[in-house]
């Protein structure tokens, strides 16, 4: 697909500042992600799961929603998505090291299990696809509140749609089908982004399903389905804008299949050399979404090489500081172990 959008697309209206922010978010995610791999190799952290290669999907999606207000129920590769919502590399480093005050969970969750009430970023479990019914539930609540006049359709301070993400392999789970079906039945303002990187750990797409495209399934649920080049941040933005408008206008759910490449092993526990040829990986790197978007911005004169270098320097500085602070921060207090298993005593319920 061509990185230059057609004339009447929403991305055409993006200001140079907005375009550069998109680049910046992708770059910041990449540099943060790379540092996590280094920390894992140094034996400083237990686990890392990467979003490298998926940045355009996530930044394109995030920039098309009301960021920090619309619900986002992400999955483990969504580092760039959550950075776009307001999560910082420092927050991520704290989760990698499991340090006191960690944003998502107070260092209870594994890294990459994002959660932040202040950004309407909703947490998920380590079990794949379980976020989909819950995201459908978030979308249901939006619709319910609107239908009952609890919020006004034009109240922009309230979430107006729910976004959820997962991998193509995870669409083999019953949760996915049940969540999508329900969203279809009730025309819920749900946008499900399937980040199709062609692999589920070692298992390739064709062993996961007997169809050519995940988006083909949309018909079966009565939701709108579209396949998009997930290595092209502007194409992703455009697809997402259309889905968001549909959701905002009460026209129902959308399934976006974003085709992208996983540029790393599945996680720090995996060695992908056993099932993926190095040639295939080298080929995938040609579609590196950050490099190709830099070319677009430089080519259009939106970004200068000097600005590009400034972004690099700034990203490194942020990542270095985040890393330093997280590494030297204290671990959580052991007395917190019992916190938040239950709600505090509630005098109305007599407990």
């Amino acid at each position: 697909m061509n990185a230059t959008p057609a004339l009447d697309t929403p991305s055409q209206l993006l200001s140079p500042e907005a375009l550069k922010e998109m680049y910046w978010l992708m770059l910041l995610a990449r540099r943060t992600d790379e540092r996590a791999w280094v920390l894992h190799r140094q034996g400083k952290i237990a686990f890392h799961i990467s979003g490298m290669g998926h940045e355009a999907v996530q930044v394109g999606a995030a920039c098309a929603i009301h960021r920090g207000v619309d619900y986002v129920h992400p999955y483990y590769r969504d580092l760039a998505l959550v950075l776009a919502l307001g999560v910082t590399p420092r927050d991520f480093m704290f989760s990698l090291f499991g340090k006191r005050g960690e944003l998502s969970s107070g260092a209870r969750q594994m890294p990459s299990h994002w959660s932040a009430r202040k950004y309407n970023l909703v947490s998920s479990s380590s079990v794949v696809a379980t976020q989909v019914p819950q995201a459908a539930g978030l979308a249901f609540a939006i619709k319910y509140k609107r239908d009952h006049g609890l919020i006004q359709a034009d109240d922009f301070s309230q979430p107006r749609c729910a976004i959820t993400c997962l991998g193509e392999g995870s669409t083999s789970q019953g949760e996915w089908h049940e969540g999508m079906n329900w969203a279809g039945v009730h025309d819920l303002p749900l946008i499900c982004i399937v980040q199709n990187n062609n692999y589920a750990i070692s298992v390739p797409f064709e062993k996961q399903m007997n169809i050519r495209s995940v988006a083909d399934r949309a018909n079966a649920y009565g939701v709108h389905g579209i396949t998009v080049n997930g290595s092209d941040v502007l194409a992703m933005y455009d697809a997402m804008k259309a889905a968001v408008h549909r959701a905002y206008r009460g026209e129902g759910a959308t399934l976006i299949e974003a085709k992208c490449h996983r540029l790393t092993p599945h996680s720090s526990d995996d060695d992908d050399r056993t099932y993926r040829s190095r040639e295939e990986l080298e080929e995938a790197k040609r579609f590196d979404p950050i490099m190709s978007f830099a070319q677009v911005l430089l080519g259009r004169g939106v970004m200068s090489t000097a600005e590009q270098q400034e972004f690099e320097a700034k990203a490194m500085e942020i990542v270095n500081t985040a890393h330093r602070e997280a590494e030297s921060a204290p671990y959580p207090d052991e007395h917190t172990i019992y916190d938040h298993i239950y709600a505090p005593i509630n005098h109305e319920s007599g407990r």
């Binding site: 019953g174 099932y275 959580p332 172990i337 019992y338 298993i341």
Partner: protein, 326 residues
Amino acid sequence: MADKVLPMREALRNALREEMIRDERVYVMGQEVGAWDGTHKVTRGFLEEFGARRVRDTPISEMVIAGAAVGSAMAGLRPVAEIMTINFAFVGMDAIINHMAKVRYMFNGQFKVPMVLRCATGWGNQATATHSHTPEPIFAHFPGLYVGMPSNARDAKGMLKAAIRDDNPVLFSEVIALYPKPGPVPEDPDFVLPIGKGDIKRPGKDVTIVSFGRGVEWSLDAAAALEKEGVDCEVVDVRWLRPLDTALIFESFKKTNRCVVVEESLPYYSFGSEIAAQIQEHMFDYMDAPVKRVSAMDVPLPYARDIELMALPNVQKVIAAVKEVI
């Protein structure tokens, strides 16, 4: 035939491989069992040796892994299905609890379900609350299922072979932390340890420590430390949560009159609760002290390393519990 020192993962691999050679109806399915050699490398080389018809990489569909194993077992095959980690078995729970366990009974014995559901289990790898369950007692709750969990390489081989050869459905849990642990394993392809038979892992006369899986290691280490203080512990490895070898436990208890139960799982409605109840119901006249339970703490498991370790059972906690009953 001689013994050979092998890590538990190799002992399991040999057991499974030998059974696949012995019986054409035995086949393997699960996520990553083929091209990736199995998440825990138990099926290493199987795809090459047995071919894709008998070594099936499945989609990420635990309900299919468990449910289709039930169906194919009813139709005469002997599936050995693998759930990557037991956490994901929850996704296939209806197939396991309502079908795997109950088909024989519900249909008055017309159909049998000779299948094994292999699950990797255990915590301690910072995999956190939704990803670190050791929930075997939940499965053992349901009549119709056998539930086994070996504590060493030798038992792993003999128990898995028994599970595959038996006509009952077996949930077979393998502790991830034990996969690399080596031990002597009989090379005999007919080395089978009977289902439901526990084992005295260490004879002693002062206190009975009842455990299974990884808890056996903590119990043996605790027993070794306590021996220096003049306390002689007997370590009973039940091996099977179902059927439970109560006879072996009672025999030991009659001798020691004291009991500590050690498990990796959570404390409420647990293995420890069951053993304590069995002892007070059947051994009341022999009791010299209350039964003590050592388990994980009653919390969802946190990530931060120190707090995670704090929440888990360990040798020190076993020693402390033994000291409370003597």
